[in-house]
């Protein structure tokens, strides 16, 4: 009897313990938002909407306008996605429909492995190899919005290519064959069967990549320049939220400066959280159900 009683206790204990493990994730998310918000309050209440509309960011004058960082984040992410999406789809089509079997596995595996290389390496490559190239091509410093976007797009490329390929690979052979059996060409089949079939997965992976790109720090910090200015010249130095945080967090010397940086972190967290939530709830749900 005693033996059974102790196992009941242990059972309850183990259930509670593991429940705690699951709750920690929720507690962390809530505390992250709460802490970021708490430290942001000073800047947000003092600066109000101006924080978002003001372009000028001059810590020595206690002027903190986040517009250039926010816009910079949006532009660099948008450019990176615009460069990355067609190439990633190209690679995915190449790997699923064109490449001979002897190439599929080695190329596919190296792309997956490249997705695991830390972003700081991509940033380093950008600084030492891509920036000089841009300098030769466009003059100026070579550091700036365009360089950052290209490095960012190269960094998210392996992830996106791999996930897009996986989504396309889920198309049943029999479905493709039945399109071929109607006299379709390869492209007809890709267009009418493979892409529609994999659509939810492809869009979901793009949005996940977008979420990563928005929050990515190291790939861009090296090559963006951290200049708080919005310029139509995309080869000019610029900044983004992660770049500003990485460069200035340890330099904040006043509580308002500090609070302004936390506000930026909060904005970044909100943007990334909503992007990924959209991907999850809107697109990837379908995929999960479909399986």
């Amino acid at each position: 009897m005693k033996h059974i009683k102790s196992s009941v206790l242990l059972d309850a204990f183990f259930a509670k313990l593991s429940h705690g493990g699951a709750l920690i994730v929720l507690i962390l998310v809530i505390s992250i938002f709460a802490v970021l918000l708490g430290y942001s309050l000073e800047a947000l209440s003092q600066l109000g909407l101006e924080f978002f509309t003001e372009e000028k960011w001059a810590p020595n004058l206690e002027k903190f306008g986040a517009r250039s960082a926010i816009i910079g984040s949006l532009i660099s992410t948008f450019l990176a996605m615009a460069l990355c999406i067609p190439i990633a789809i190209g690679i995915a089509i190449f790997l699923t429909e064109i490449a001979p079997n002897s190439l599929k596995t080695p190329i596919g595996t190296s792309i997956e492995l490249l997705a695991a290389i830390p972003s700081v390496i991509y940033g380093m490559w950008g600084l030492f190899y891509f920036v000089p190239l841009m300098r030769d091509l466009f003059g100026g410093l070579g550091i700036g919005m365009l360089s950052a976007s290209v490095v960012l797009s190269v960094m998210i490329l392996p992830f996106m290519a791999a996930v897009t390929r996986d989504a396309m690979n889920t198309t049943p052979d029999i479905l493709k064959e039945s399109a071929y059996a109607l006299g379709a060409t390869k492209w007809d089949v890709i267009q009418a069967v493979v892409i529609p079939y994999a659509k939810a997965g492809i869009i979901g992976s793009m949005i996940l990549a977008l979420g990563r790109a928005v929050g990515e720090t190291m790939a861009v910090t090296f090559v963006m320049g951290n200049v708080h200015r919005i310029s139509w010249d995309i080869t000019a130095p610029a900044t983004s939220i992660p770049v500003t945080l990485a460069n200035e967090f340890t330099e904040a010397d006043s509580s308002l400066y500090f609070s302004a940086l936390f506000s930026l972190a909060l904005v970044l967290m909100l943007i990334s959280f909503s992007i990924i939530a959209i991907a999850k709830f809107y697109f990837l749900k379908k995929v999960r159900r479909g399986l």
Binding site: P100, N101, P172, I174, L175, K176, E177, S178, A179, Y180, A181, L182, G183, A184, T185, D188, A192, V193, P196, Y197, K199
Partner: protein, 261 residues
């Protein structure tokens, strides 16, 4: 040597000394198969799994060419030429010889677009012509009454049996000469199976049909000719009513008596 009965009809296809080897295997999967396929008749291919019946069927529209490394030998004559030739236009060939698969293969698009797909591939763009031919195909596939009010709905909203008839409609919309059926009812319930069988029997008025089936009763019910295959060889081809009653080969007899398979 195989026993091949004489075919009273014109030939839709003529297979001559045909051997087939899959990529990366040395052993051929089909060995020197010779058989005529009668025009506007139903020819059933039966045999235990792995006997090569599906492999043979997939040669007629050269599905095997989608995967590298498969090897053909011999000849298959269709419309007066050997379709195994290197200059064969596979895209055109596949519009002349359609195929229906083991499972319904509705494309991820609307019912209407599923049917119109093959027509659009042939360059038909005019809305009125598309409408007419979609309706005709759905009628011919005996599914028009069930779907005409929801043509814009996703094809996946149909039941399995309806989807399979939709696939048949899609295949006949482009007016092929021959239709290949690869175990078309293996994923369906008995009622849907019956509907498909009736449909196939109606289609043979205009279209020559080859059907692979694992179900001997099905072959007996619907086909005019039956070919029995075993271990990559055609053992016997005969008129269905004679083959099932008085098989000429001992192997055929054993198989239809259920001694193996």
């Amino acid at each position: 040597m195989a026993t091949i009965a004489t075919i009273e009809h014109e030939k839709a296809l003529h297979v001559k000394d045909f051997s087939f080897t899959y990529a990366k295997t040395a052993q051929p999967s089909l060995v020197e198969v010779s058989m005529p396929i009668a025009k506007t008749c139903i020819t059933a291919l039966i045999g235990p799994s792995g006997c090569g019946k599906t492999t043979l069927l997939r040669t007629f529209n050269r599905m095997h060419d989608l995967y590298a490394g498969n090897r053909y030998e011999g000849e298959i004559e269709f419309e007066g030429r050997n379709i195994l030739g290197p200059k064969e236009d596979l895209i055109r060939l596949r519009t002349r010889i359609g195929m229906i698969f083991q499972k319904p293969t509705a494309f991820p698009m609307s019912i209407y677009d599923n049917i119109a797909y093959g027509l659009r591939l042939q360059g038909i763009k005019a809305k009125s012509e598309l409408d007419d031919r979609v309706e005709k195909a759905l009628n011919d596939a005996a599914i028009w009454p069930e779907v005409h009010q929801r043509l814009k709905k996703e094809a996946s909203s149909l039941s399995g049996g309806q989807q399979q008839r939709l696939c048949i409609a899609r295949a006949i919309a482009v007016e092929p000469e021959i239709l290949l059926f690869d175990e078309p009812t293996s994923a369906l319930d008995p009622i849907s199976t019956q509907a498909i069988e009736q449909l196939i029997m109606q289609l043979k008025e205009r279209i020559s049909i080859v059907i692979v089936t694992h179900n001997m009763q099905q072959a007996a019910r619907i086909s005019d000719y039956t070919g029995f295959m075993y271990l990559g060889k055609l053992i016997e081809l005969g008129k269905t009513d004679t083959l099932f009653v008085t098989p000429q080969e001992a192997l055929t007899e054993e198989y239809i008596m259920g001694k193996f398979g």
